[in-house]
Symmetry: C2
Subunit: 425 residues, 2 copies
């Protein structure tokens, strides 16, 4: 692995170069055409695209509930047990995220507050092929159902040999209400605008390739979307006491996701840096996804040696990694220094893959530096708020002059007159 020994300012510039992404206008155009076609031709467009992109000739889009039941019956008992444990832990964690509204009646004659309502219908995109992760279905579906979403609609690309049973079993366990086989930008268009078969939803969540991500960005506004997810990332902060073999394994667990994944170690020990680099090379040789992991390690990953702990955190906050491991003794002491990160793993036995599957916290996390302003997927993503306000005649009279002054300053006479209309009789 590339080892840097630069000062903080230089490291921040280097990190910035790693995070630059450019817009692909050709993909933008292709996606725009697909969306317009789905708006115009509905189900027929979906079937045409399935034939063209997935090489599958569909007679129907809906996956029958009986097929979900059947899939649940076929998966092996160990996987079933893992899925059910994951469900329990994800549920327990996300129950803690539930919020309530409020009402303030502390001033006589004034009621003001906010109420929460679950989104009615949500769409979940699940990639096909090797990127079909049952764990992701649970991570998206469970918070939505805890929030109170009435209709959770899942779409996933059709497969020549039928949809992966583990995916359908996870849909059943996660409480998905309906599954349709359609993928890509056309699937996102169907969820945003609706077709004869697929209902238009209020929000679309779930990961996908560049076509899916671009389509989600384009339909944003028509519906809500979760963050447009980029390649996976791990940042590790470690001192000389950490174990190189474990850190290397953790770096590789992210690198194997994607050629564009990023694995980043920041440490105050050059010895550790060198030992980890050696371990990474060695562990790579026996990985089934060696080629992918190697590309991610070579092109997108690094080790930075920085002398001061505060600077280590400063750099990591500038990176704003999706996953952050703190491999120090007493790691929770450092939580206050973390400003930007999706999910933090504290100490030796909190290796990142634990969080990917079944510890409970969500694994749908902000990537590409967006942890500066985004949160993990949670129950709060499936509710919206409505304010309410009630004034008595007396309280309105108390502020009438101030409101009309304000309105007339802004040149909005009709606003002022709406107040005055109350006091005409």
């Amino acid at each position: 692995m590339k080892i840097y020994q630069e000062d903080l300012a230089t490291m921040k510039r280097i990190v910035d170069d790693y995070t630059q992404e450019t817009v692909d206008f050709e993909i933008e155009q292709t996606v725009q055409t697909i969306i317009q076609n789905v708006i115009k031709n509905g189900d027929q467009a979906l079937k045409d695209y399935s034939k063209k992109f997935d090489q599958v000739d569909l007679d129907k889009l809906l996956v029958e509930p009986s097929e979900l039941e059947a899939a649940y019956g076929t998966i092996d008992d160990d996987l079933k047990a893992s899925l059910l444990t994951a469900k329990d832990n994800i549920t327990a964690f996300h129950e803690l995220e539930k919020e309530t509204g409020f009402v303030d009646v502390s001033t006589p004659g004034i009621v003001r507050g906010q109420k929460l309502t679950a989104l009615k219908r949500v769409g979940l995109y699940v990639p096909g092929g090797t990127a079909a992760y049952p764990s992701t279905i649970l991570m998206n579906a469970i918070p939505a159902k805890i929030a109170g979403v009435q209709e959770l609609v899942m779409i996933t690309p059709p497969q020549k040999d039928g949809i992966n049973p583990a995916v359908l079993a996870a849909a059943k366990i996660g409480g998905v209400d309906a599954v349709y086989q359609v993928g890509g930008a056309q699937g996102i268009a169907a969820l945003a605008y609706g077709t004869e078969t697929i209902p238009a939803v209020d929000k679309i969540v779930g990961p996908g390739n560049i076509f899916v991500a671009t389509a989600k960005k384009q339909v944003f506004g028509q519906v809500a979307i979760d963050m447009v997810a980029g390649p996976s990332e791990i940042g590790i902060l470690a001192d000389a006491n950490a174990r190189p073999s474990e850190l290397a394994a953790d770096l590789l667990s992210q690198a194997e996701h994607d050629r564009r994944a990023r694995a980043m170690l920041v440490t105050d020990s050059l010895d550790l840096a060198q030992a980890v680099s050696k371990e990474v090379d060695q562990q790579l040789t026996t990985l089934p996804r060696q080629e992918i992991a190697q590309a991610a390690i070579n092109d997108r990953s690094f080790i930075a040696v920085m002398p001061k702990v505060t600077e280590m955190f400063d750099l990591m906050n500038a990176i704003a990694p999706e996953h952050l491991e703190i491999a120090f003794d007493n790691p929770s002491q450092y939580l206050g220094l973390v400003e930007n990160a999706g999910s933090v793993f504290l100490g030796r036995f909190s290796t990142e893959p634990l969080g990917d599957y079944l510890a409970g916290p969500n694994h749908v996390l902000p990537t590409g530096g967006t942890a500066r302003f985004s949160s993990p997927l949670g129950v709060y993503d499936f509710v919206k708020r409505t304010q309410f306000l009630q004034y008595s005649a007396e309280q309105l009279a108390n502020v009438a002059d101030k409101v009309t002054k304000f309105a007339r300053t802004e040149g909005l006479e009709a606003h002022a007159r709406a107040i005055e209309a109350r006091f005409k009789d």
Copy 2:
């Protein structure tokens, strides 16, 4: 006003036609070019565009703090009092929105939780000319500062005669940290990517014209944005007891905002519908912004007469109005029927303009049906969450088999090995 007497299904189709908006690809292209130019040429691009679009030749972008002080000194005392009352009420309401994280240590050997951190730097767009609303500055700035945003940067288009003193005074009262004079898509690009003078922010909020809205949509992902705001809307639910003159005044208070504004009354009384329509025509004749309000009333507004209260709410939930007035007796009894609305005004003395200025709830609200999935602007828009997790060796050992099973099912061998690396010695 157009009065409909149709069944619910027909009304829903009519309402759907009103909300259709189309993408303007020419504007998309123009905005794309502007953003690329600002990324490449920084401050110089901003100055060139100010000359071209605003006809102002700028020597500097920053508005000095002393200019804010001076503006605060020049505004009249009544306006100052209105702004300060608004500040107090907005602060009181938004303090109630503050959230905390959580930690769960109920299982020995497992710590899991979530912490909240304020966004570090936020950009606020304030339109120029007649659309420069001091109230909007307070509505955006106060929640940001309550959340703990360290650096709140405001931009507003340069004006030939200097920026409106009320705008600068509101910036001072709202706690804005720096003001730059730059507008349009170029201003949004500056906030998203930074220039020599203007710092890149984590999130951009605030209303603007179609160029601003399009630019916000295009930089989404690079930074967070608030909802892309459309024209203002009011929905009113009223029965035969409501007063036509008051309802007409309220409908017009939204109609005067914009030719594309929408004013919608749903009532079970045809008599009331006809009386309100007559009142609207009459009140229109003396409005300074008559032409704008008339266009909004003619082209985008309607009255629907529906016999049943449940259907009235069903239709209004399909509309998902930005503002909703419930002009019934005992209006809070009906709050449970409201699913989709930005802000609800209960009863005769809670006319919508009261909420625009100083009752306390936010006036930055979801428009164009987006209340189906979006919330009013609030303190929660200026914080993000970070999960954290710590497992003991024993607890990791307890779930190790389940995690490795999961990982191998998903074809991610390196994930499984990261778990196993902990138990090698």
